[in-house]
Amino acid sequence: MSYISNLMHNRPAIKPGLWILIVLTAAVLLVIPPLSSLTTITLLSRIFILAIFGMSYDILRGYTGIINLGHALFFGGGTYLAGIMFSRMGPTLDVLLLAVAITLAFSAVIAYIMGQFAFRGTGFIGVIACAMITLAFGEIARHTAETLREYTQGADGLTFRVPVIFQDRVMMYYYAFLFMIIMTLILRRFVNSPTGRVMQAIRDNEQRAKFLGYDTKKYKLIALIVAGMASSLAGIMFALLTRFANTELLTVQNTLNALLYTIVGGTGTLYGAIIGTAFVQLAQNYLLELRGIHEIFSRWLLFFGAIYVLVVLYLPKGFVGAYLQFQAKRQSRKKPA
């Protein structure tokens, strides 16, 4: 038991420096809208929403040690469900509420089914089988969206209208920011809960958690369901922002986007996803602007893959992880051993 209780008592304390940073960022975010262009505001709104997508992946990869290659199906599923309901039933707030309810139920059920098959093995075989099986699930979702042309418009993508209060870009920016803050608090509460501690024990050593008497499959299922629901909510917000859904949202590439957000920022930190998303989105935007200089800069995926490989090889803990490590080193140097 001591292993788990150790984990429970060593909560990662947030340094005062980080708090200042958080407050500063929040202030800047509230001052930005009146001072900047619509493009910037929309880009920031994107970052807020996608950060939650990344954070939901961090619950899997960073806190439970699961690689889910079909995670985009929750995000894309949320966008599609909201989009289809808006276009069929009209863009009203009631429909939005209904869409949220249906999407949450949908993602919980799908996550449950997916987990039943994906979490059969343990150890390294388990990780590999899980990656392959979730990949197959993700492809099924993409294939379904492509086939159900009547509802999804297939490869052309689905354009729809959203409730009036989400049509103003600046208001949408605030909603997105609020969404990010609320979801971050909820997810933070979740990963610091006793359940979250068991998840981390599974990540560190599944066999040991099992020997301690925990039903590890159950906890993995909980992690997947929570991550799936969070990600599908981000998907709905994305629908409200872009008013468009296409099958790109359901591809492996989109899953890898979420994965990149968390590994660039730092896995197992939750906040890392925000920094990672901002970094990746800003880098993508910046490179697209360089397109005029050389054609190569329009090949975002090349850079995406290169960043990906470099981060995995040389910065496995991401920016936040590297920063915390640097802090810890400085702390230990100050204190006489």
């Binding site: 075989i125 990780v127 590999i128 990656a131 994965l259 090949r299 995406f304 290169a306 090889l313």
Partner: protein
Amino acid sequence: MHIFIMLLINGLAEGALIFLMAAGLSIILGLLGVVNFTHGTLFIWGGYVSIWIFGLTGSFIIALVAAIVAGFAMGLIFERLFVRPVYGNVTAQILITLGLMIVFTDLVRLLWGPNPIPASRPEFMDGTWVIDSVIISQYRIFLIIVGILVAIAINYIVNKTRVGMVMRAGTQSPDMVQALGINIKVYFSGVFAGGAALAALGGALYVPLVGSVWSGMGINNQILAFIVVILGGMGSYYGSAVGSIIIGLTVAMVSWFYPPLTVYATVLLLLLVLTLRPQGLFGLAVRN
């Protein structure tokens, strides 16, 4: 009845192609403990390189050889530079091969453009035989023969040669093999590159079958190969052979009667097998 003979041949040909990918994946998984997500990308590169060389030389055989050489070289580079630093860390291996998948799939689009390139079958295999009103495509028979030859070759190498002995021993206990004075890392590189070459050969053979090459064909076939690997039991190449035939026949049958269901049918088959036999048809031949 005629339809079933035709579907049988289609299915076996499809199975032979999947086997080329799945066998490599499975052996790499067994010996190195690495799941290689670049396999689909190597498949695409095999397809594009063969088309390119076929255009230059006009020889199908040279094109196939070029694809194999390209696949082998890429496999060697991937293993040395990217996979080797993360041996033993499954998550990092999955992530890094996924990154390579993205980069090299996009490189294909950069080099050959985003649109599908049409490809024709070599003339000497383009024909069909009509036996008792059953139409048999010569190219599919050729694919089945290649599949059988590769299976026999793998079986011979693994079970009858010294290299195969080291591979089998390495699957059981790589440290012990190393301790006996055999440089297991050379075998790791060789097996990884060999599997890559098989995937590239698969791509080169797939292109004339479907008549064009495009950058999206990798992921579809990679997923089929993954399904086969899990279905057959990870690390068992017998399993991948049997799994390839099962999946090949399923794909051929379902896509004949109702094409949109093909993807669902293969995944459902996988889930069914996993429910009844969680370790796959031929068990776990992998160290745990």
